[in-house]
Symmetry: C2
C-alpha cells in the first residue's frame, strides 16, 4: 500500500473508462465487471472528483447511462465525456455537414446537425453497420470531396464483448484512410483535447488526475502524453484477473 499511496500522491481526480472497466457489453445489455459497481460507489464517497471518460460510440450518452444505472452504477449523464457530443461541437464550429457511418443507436446525438450535401464523413463503431455497401458509400463521399475530411470517434482496435473480441472503429478508420489517401481526425481518446475536456469538467489539472482504463494506447498512453497518471486494469481486453484490487 505504501507504493500505491506514493503513486497516488496529490491525485484529486479520477477519469474512468467504461467498456471493459465497468462492464462488458453483451446480451441483455452487458455484465458488470466484478467489484466495479462497489469501486465506483467508493470513489464517489471519497474526496476524489470522478469523471467517466469513454469512447463508447454505439449508443447515445443517455442510452449508455440508462444501461449502466440498470446494472447498478451510480452515474448520471452530466458526469460522462463521450465523443459524439464533442464531434457535434467540432462540426458546428467548422461548418461541416457529415455523412454518418455510425450505429443506429448513436444517430440521435446528431439530431441537430445539418446533413444536407455532406462535406465530410464521420465514422464511429457501427458494428454490423460496417457493411461493404456502407463502407463504399463513405469512401465515395470522401473521393468526391476536394478536401476530404474524415472524423473518427476514437480509433480503438477492438473491444471485448461477453461473446469475444470484436472489431472497433479503428480498423475501419484505417481502411478509409488507405482507400482515400487521407488522415482521419480522431475525436475521443487518445486525443489530448478530449482528455482536457474531461478534466475541465471536474476542475482538475492533468498532474492531479489519474486515468483508469483497459486500453494501453487509448487510455494509458493517451493520458500519460497529457501529463496524467494512468492505471491499466486487467479486465476487458485483458481476459485475466480483475484489476480493481489496486484501487485506493
Amino acid at each position: 500500500m505504501a507504493v500505491w499511496s506514493e503513486r497516488l500522491a496529490g491525485v484529486r481526480g479520477v477519469l474512468l473508462d467504461i467498456s471493459g472497466v465497468l462492464y462488458d457489453f453483451g446480451p441483455g445489455g452487458g455484465t458488470p465487471i466484478p467489484g466495479s459497481v462497489e469501486a465506483v460507489a467508493r470513489l464517489k464517497r471519497s474526496h476524489l472528483k470522478v469523471r467517466f471518460c469513454t469512447n463508447e460510440s454505439q449508443k447515445s450518452r443517455g442510452e449508455l447511462v440508462r444501461l449502466l444505472r440498470r446494472l447498478g452504477f451510480d452515474i448520471s449523464e452530466d458526469e460522462v465525456t463521450s465523443p459524439a457530443p464533442a464531434t457535434c461541437q467540432v462540426l458546428k464550429e467548422r461548418g461541416l455537414r457529415p455523412h454518418l457511418l455510425i450505429h443506429e443507436g448513436l444517430r440521435s446525438e446528431f439530431d441537430e446537425i445539418d446533413m444536407s450535401n455532406p462535406n465530410c464523413v464521420v465514422i464511429a463503431d457501427a458494428g454490423e453497420g460496417f457493411s461493404y455497401q456502407n463502407m463504399n458509400k463513405a469512401f465515395q463521399v470522401l473521393m468526391e470531396l476536394e478536401n476530404p475530411v474524415l472524423i473518427s470517434l476514437g480509433k480503438g482496435r477492438y473491444y471485448k464483448e461477453t461473446s469475444g473480441l470484436m472489431l472497433d472503429v479503428g480498423p475501419y478508420m484505417k481502411a478509409l484512410e488507405y482507400a482515400c489517401g487521407v488522415e482521419a481526425e480522431v475525436v475521443g481518446k487518445p486525443s489530448p483535447e478530449f482528455f482536457s475536456a474531461a478534466l475541465r469538467a471536474i476542475g482538475v489539472e492533468a498532474h492531479q488526475a489519474i486515468m483508469i482504463g483497459d486500453d494501453i494506447v487509448g487510455d494509458v498512453g493517451g493520458a500519460q502524453r497529457c501529463g496524467m497518471r494512468a492505471l491499466q486494469v486487467r479486465t476487458g481486453k485483458f481476459r485475466s484477473v480483475p484489476g480493481w484490487a489496486h484501487l485506493p
Copy 2:
C-alpha cells in the same frame, strides 16, 4: 512516334493488366474499353510476347477468361498470371491452412487446399462478402494464432466498375493489419515475385518488358521497381480519355 520507338527500344514482351485496361467490370459481366479488343489482337499479331498480369480476385482464372472471350478478347487461361494460383503454391510450400475471406467466385481455386484448423488468413477482394461478421471472424482467427499470418491477394485501394469506384481488398487488408498488429504478405502486383513469375512464363527479362496498367502503384510503380518499363493508361481508375493510342 520517334519518342515512342526510343522508349520501346529492345522491348520483347508486354504485360497487360486486365481490369480498367481491357474492360470495366459491371452489369452483365462488364464492358470492353474502346480499342482494347483490337489492341490485344494487334499485340498478338506482332513480334511481342504477351502475358496478362492481373490482381483479379473476385473470380477464378477460368471464369475471368470465359468472360473476356465473350467480350471479344483473344485470351486463354494459360496466358494469365493471377494471385490465387500463386497463393495456393505459397500455402502448399509453407504448410499453411487458410481461413478464407474471399468472394464466392474465387473459392474453386482453393479446392485442393486443406482448410481444417486454420493457421493463417487469406484475404481477397470479397466485395459484399466484406461484412462486419466476416471481417470479425477473420480477425478472431488471427488473434488466436501464436504467429498470425495474413496473406492478401493484391493491395489495391479501389477499382472502377461501370457504376463507380469500389473499395478493393487493400483497405480491408489495412483494417486487419491494424486490428491485429500484423503486416500482411501481398501475393500479386506490386510484389516482385509476382511480376517475375509473369516474365518467366514468357521467357522475357525485366529490362526487355513493359507493363501496361491503370494503377500507378500496383502496375507502374511495381513494374519499375522490378526493372521493367511501364505505361499507365488513362482508362479504368482514370475516368478520362483512353490511353490506347500510344500502343506501338
